[in-house]
Amino acid sequence: MTPTNDSAVKTPVAPVESALGGGDAVASPPPSRGHSRRRWAIRAEIALLAGPALLVFLTFVILPVIIAAYYGFFSWSGYGPATDFVGLRNYIVILQDDAFQSALRHNAIIVVLSLVIQGPIAIGLALLLNRKMKFQSSLRVLIFAPYVISEVVVGTGWSLILASNGALNGMLEKLGLEGLQQDWLSNPELAIWTLMAIITWKYIGFAVILFLAGLQGIPEEITEAAAIDGASYWQIQRRITLPLMGPTIRIWAFLSIIGSLQLFDLVYIVWGQYVAETAGTSTMATYMVSSGRNAGSYGYGNAVAVVIFLISLTVALLYQRFVLRRDTDGAVTGGSDN
């Protein structure tokens, strides 16, 4: 939609501007000067309006990446100038560290499981909540509630619920299901699944709201026409709704992957830096904090940040190249009908 909209917008705007410039020119003696003055005025407006946001953005979002790349080459305790240049040694240590490798593995598992678990459930729930039913809007609010609650609250609450003497095991005992009682948080075979359950509970609402938004973008006429032609509810969802939801699903998957690669808060709050490692839930980000800031090795921490950045960037670029590209193609060709 974007490119066509632009070109549609561009054509009318050019005549307006030149007409205005021309109007100026009639009034003021040299036409070329009036025109260029107007161009400068527009440039000044652009700089005035976009400048502050761009400055803040570049300073606090982009510059840190450059800072990290610089300090990543030093062994540095965080105070005073960094003088102990170690070249690529930090990076070699990171890549050879078992703790980092298992953190990376956990991140990979979280990426895949988030997509596989949340995607289908969220699509189902979005279809459900898109139907007319009682309490529809209350349900929509409710499902988004966990997303709005802070990670600290979610983490604190869940760690009390899931502790070995916590509410979940207590409930199982009440139901006479003592056999199912588990050490949900510290059993290394179980902890990653516990983490996935918490992640799903916390973030599924975001996927559902996004999918609901996508569903509302599907023209009613299409599904109505299909219904008149005798297509069943499930046929319509499978053949029409889902394919049309494609772009939304792919954007969600992208955000989910990036979020999973950078997961920190929940793990750090529920497990803490030490337990996370033994329970098998550590992530690259918790590794970065525990081996960087908490160990007083800021050079090393910055190197880990660079590694996470490069991994995220590679994944993001590959995803855009091979998955999202279809959407831009679609937008260009599909949008031209508008």
């Binding site: 974007t2 976009a50 940040a305």
Partner: protein, 291 residues
């Protein structure tokens, strides 16, 4: 029931009657009920647990209170620490929201309504921010904030939060600003209204739905922000609520009931705020997904 609901015109803009007209069945309501249970149970556990005593919780972790005690909540509400953290969180969230909205609308206006070389590149720069949540930047960000002398100050949290919130803000606002009719702009120019005047008089009021959406998202993000305050705020006097919850939870780790009371009080503002503006958020995301 179905006939009356269906014949009544939908009054909700975002809930048009596009769902296939099929009577909701028992199964649907069953799934919905299970969903509600799954979402509510943990939240209810936190809130109800705050009304219990520690002895009760230890003895029967999953039960209801024998008697509903308010003393845990009263204790928290009567403590200076809690209110100081509420104040810090409020200052950070309000300042972040205002700054994000002002800077975001200005930049989005340029991206939506001006034609200039490098516009696409500028938009890509801002959208690239979406790829990198704060995690990657936190270590160098800490160094940057420290060298700016903003450690242990709310400003050290607010400014980076604004920067990181700009991406989603601009992505949501640009489609909103594009929908302002071109004719309106032309008419305003004909009447001798400059672009900047047009911006204040027309663009801001007309883009209010989008502005409210990004404002709410910024507020909630700031209210819940954990990693950045963890790095920047080391002095308890500057703690925001998330840090406070965590500090409280480790300080009173044996006093589970009190922790639960503190935790549930700290989540109320974001929940209230969100339920008031839920439609706006859905509406804003719809615009962003379609655009």
């Amino acid at each position: 029931m179905s006939t009356t609901t269906l014949s009544r015109p939908s009054h909700r803009a975002e809930a048009p009657a596009k769902s296939i007209r099929r009577k909701p069945t028992f199964g649907i309501y069953f799934i919905a009920l299970a969903l509600v249970g799954t979402i509510i149970t943990p939240i209810a556990y936190i809130i109800i647990g705050g009304f219990r005593s520690n002895a009760e919780i230890t003895q029967d972790p999953a039960g209801f209170p024998n008697e509903w005690r308010v003393e845990n909540y009263a204790n928290v509400l009567g403590s200076d620490v809690f209110w100081r953290e509420v104040l810090n969180s409020t200052i950070a969230a309000v300042a972040t929201t205002l700054a994000v909205v002002v800077l975001g609308v200005m930049a989005a206006y340029v991206l939506a309504r001006y034609q200039f070389k490098g516009r696409g590149a500028l938009f890509s720069v801002f959208t690239a921010g979406l790829m990198f949540p704060m995690t990657v930047a936190i270590t160098p960000l800490y160094i940057l904030v420290r060298s700016l002398g903003l450690m242990n100050s709310l400003a050290g949290v607010i400014v980076p939060q604004v920067a990181f919130q700009l991406s989603i803000t601009i992505i949501i606002l640009v489609p909103f600003l594009r929908t302002i009719p071109r004719e309106l702009e032309e008419a305003a120019f004909m009447d001798g209204c400059g672009r900047l005047k047009f911006f204040w008089r027309m663009v801001i009021p007309l883009s209010m739905p989008g502005v409210v959406t990004v404002g709410i998202l910024a507020f909630i993000a700031s209210w819940n922000s954990y990693m950045l305050p963890l790095f920047i705020l080391n002095n308890e006097a500057t703690y925001t609520l998330p840090l406070g919850v965590q500090a409280f939870a480790s300080q009173y780790s044996v006093d589970t009931a009190k922790v639960l009371a503190f935790t549930s009080l700290s989540m109320i503002p974001a929940l209230v705020f969100f339920s008031l503006f839920e439609r706006r958020i859905v509406g804003g995301l719809t615009g962003a997904v379609k655009g």
